[in-house]
């Protein structure tokens, strides 16, 4: 069998984990090379005394995840602005199907999350942040589930005789790397950083700089207890964004790795037992992947909601200390 032979030659079973990790991880190469970005990276990094060999070298090159970040932000911003502006400027003010979904989320977050945790008066200051987190993460999660770039990669592979097979080709690079920006810890950590500064800023804005840090520990405890409570609360301050980071990235990562592993069953069976076995296991693999994709759709919404909810809760905790 042609397909079986071809896969059997290229695939061995122990390749599967590495393949799945490659799918989720960021690319090491840049998709687009911009000279000014490279020089900018060097300048910024040397300012901090970092060499390109360092683990913390600030490489501003457009890797796959950076490209996808642009893609997600473009899609989310254009979609939401189009829907909202269309809704507001429409004379009858009847939301269309997509706008009613957006409105449902907006109203739910406003009434059950923002007003509940932050307060009826202060919620307007923080609503844009919570909404943006929710929809940005949601779009990242859901666009990661749509295999747009797998299709482009497939197109690149079909033209195997041409230079498209070149491993530096954009389509090839896009097809192999992760498609879910929210599965990258750096991306989720960036959003969590914003949450971190948001709830510190909320506290300082409400109580002033000194009083906010005093609010860390409840007053009126016996003195020895402060030696335990203050360090715990201080650690908690940094654990919150870390938990946000790992929760979202871990959820998206796990789902996508499981999805890829289910699909690689077909290749592994073909490589080890021949093409017929590959065909035999394909229905099970595909139905498992289908079920998991459904679950991932649910997880995509839930994780976006949890991120937004926890942001609101942390801001609320900073504002309402007595709780």
């Amino acid at each position: 069998m042609f397909i079986g032979d071809k896969i059997g030659k290229e695939w061995t079973m122990d390749q599967a984990p590495q393949y799945a990790i490659d799918h989720v991880a960021n690319s090491k190469k840049n998709i687009f090379e911009f000279e000014f970005l490279n020089s900018l990276s060097e300048k910024i990094s040397s300012f901090f005394g970092l060499t390109p060999e360092s683990m913390f070298y600030i490489d501003l090159g457009i890797t796959k995840h950076v490209f996808l970040l642009f893609f997600v932000s473009f899609v989310s911003v254009s979609t939401i602005i189009m829907l909202v502006q269309g809704y507001i400027s429409h004379k009858k003010n009847i939301p269309n199907r997509f706008m009613s979904i957006v409105e449902m989320f907006v109203l739910y977050l406003r009434d059950d999350v923002l007003k509940n945790f932050i307060g009826d008066k202060e919620y307007r200051d923080w609503a844009p942040l919570v909404y943006t987190i929710f929809f940005f993460v949601l779009f990242g999660n859901i666009l990661g589930l749509i295999p747009i770039f797998d299709l482009t990669g497939l197109l690149g592979k079909i033209g195997a005789n041409t230079e498209l097979l070149n491993k530096d080709n954009i389509l090839y690079l896009l097809s192999k790397g992760g498609h879910t920006v929210t599965a990258n810890v750096n991306v989720t950590f960036a959003i969590a950083t914003i949450t971190f500064f948001a709830f510190i800023y909320a506290g300082i804005k409400k109580y002033g700089f000194v009083q906010h840090w005093k609010n860390l520990a409840p007053s009126g405890l016996p003195l020895p207890l402060y030696f335990i409570v203050v360090p715990i609360e201080f650690m908690g301050l940094f654990i919150r964004p870390l938990a946000l980071t790992l929760r979202l990235a871990g959820n998206m990562m796990g789902g996508h790795i499981a999805l890829i592993i289910f699909i690689t069953f077909i290749f592994s069976a073909t490589a080890e037992l021949g093409g017929l076995a590959g065909f035999g296991i394909a229905p099970f693999s595909v139905s498992l992947a289908l079920g998991l994709t459904m679950l991932e759709l649910l997880v995509a919404v839930i994780q976006a909601y949890v991120f937004a909810l926890l942001t609101a809760v942390f801001i609320g905790m900073a504002i309402h200390v007595d709780h």
Binding site: I21, D22, V24, A25, N26, S41, M55, F56, Y57, I58, D59, L60, G61, T63, H65, V66, L69, F70, S73, S76, V77, I80, I81, V84, Q85, Y87, I88, N93, E103, V106, L107, R110, R124, A127, P128, L129, Y131, T132, F135, F136, V181, N184, V185, N186, V187, F189, A190, I191, T193, I194, M253
Partner: protein, 168 residues
């Protein structure tokens, strides 16, 4: 280092920049206008609900009033009808009584006239009888009659008078 947990500060910086840009743009062009719009719409809905409520109570008031008016009108109508019935009966009775009285008067009048006529007639008859008897008496007196004749004659004339009286 695990490729899934590698720190990529470039990606981190890009994420921050992109997210903050998205936040700024969406805040300005989507969230604030949308929240303003939703608040305004909710206010509108609450106001129109209030208005509907007040209109409802107004309507009920008007309904009550109109029912009251209707009931009063019905009552008045009933009294008018019963009054006019009474009046009509009264006037009918009056007319009837008047007619009866008049006819009675006529009757009485006629009776008294008849009586008067009767009395006059009887009087006339009596006078005639007296004249006749006087004539007869003169006739008889001119003739020479015996006692028998006399007595017979007196008897028969008396009877005749009696019969006349009875007839009248």
């Amino acid at each position: 280092m695990n490729p899934l947990l590698t720190p990529e500060l470039g990606t981190y910086v890009w994420s921050l920049v992109i997210f903050l840009t998205v936040l700024f743009v969406l805040k300005k062009f989507a969230w604030n206008p949308l929240l303003d719009f939703l608040e305004e719409r909710e206010k509108d809905i609450a106001e129109s609900l209030k208005m509907a409520e007040s209109a409802k109570t107004d309507l009920e008031k008007i309904k009550d009033e109109s029912e009251k008016i209707l009931n009063e009108a019905k009552k008045e109508g009933k009294t008018i009808v019963s009054d006019s019935k009474l009046r009509a009966e009264e006037s009918a009775n009056k007319i009837l009584n008047d007619a009866k009285e008049k006819s009675n008067e006529f009757l009485d009048d006629a009776k008294s006239k008849i009586d008067i006529e009767k009395k006059r007639a009887i009087k006339e008859i009596k006078e005639e009888v007296v004249d006749l008897s006087l004539e007869l008496a003169t006739k008889v007196l001119q003739r020479n009659i015996n006692d028998e004749d006399n007595s017979k004659f007196v008897k028969s004339s008396l009877e005749a008078v009696k019969v006349d009286e009875a007839k009248s």
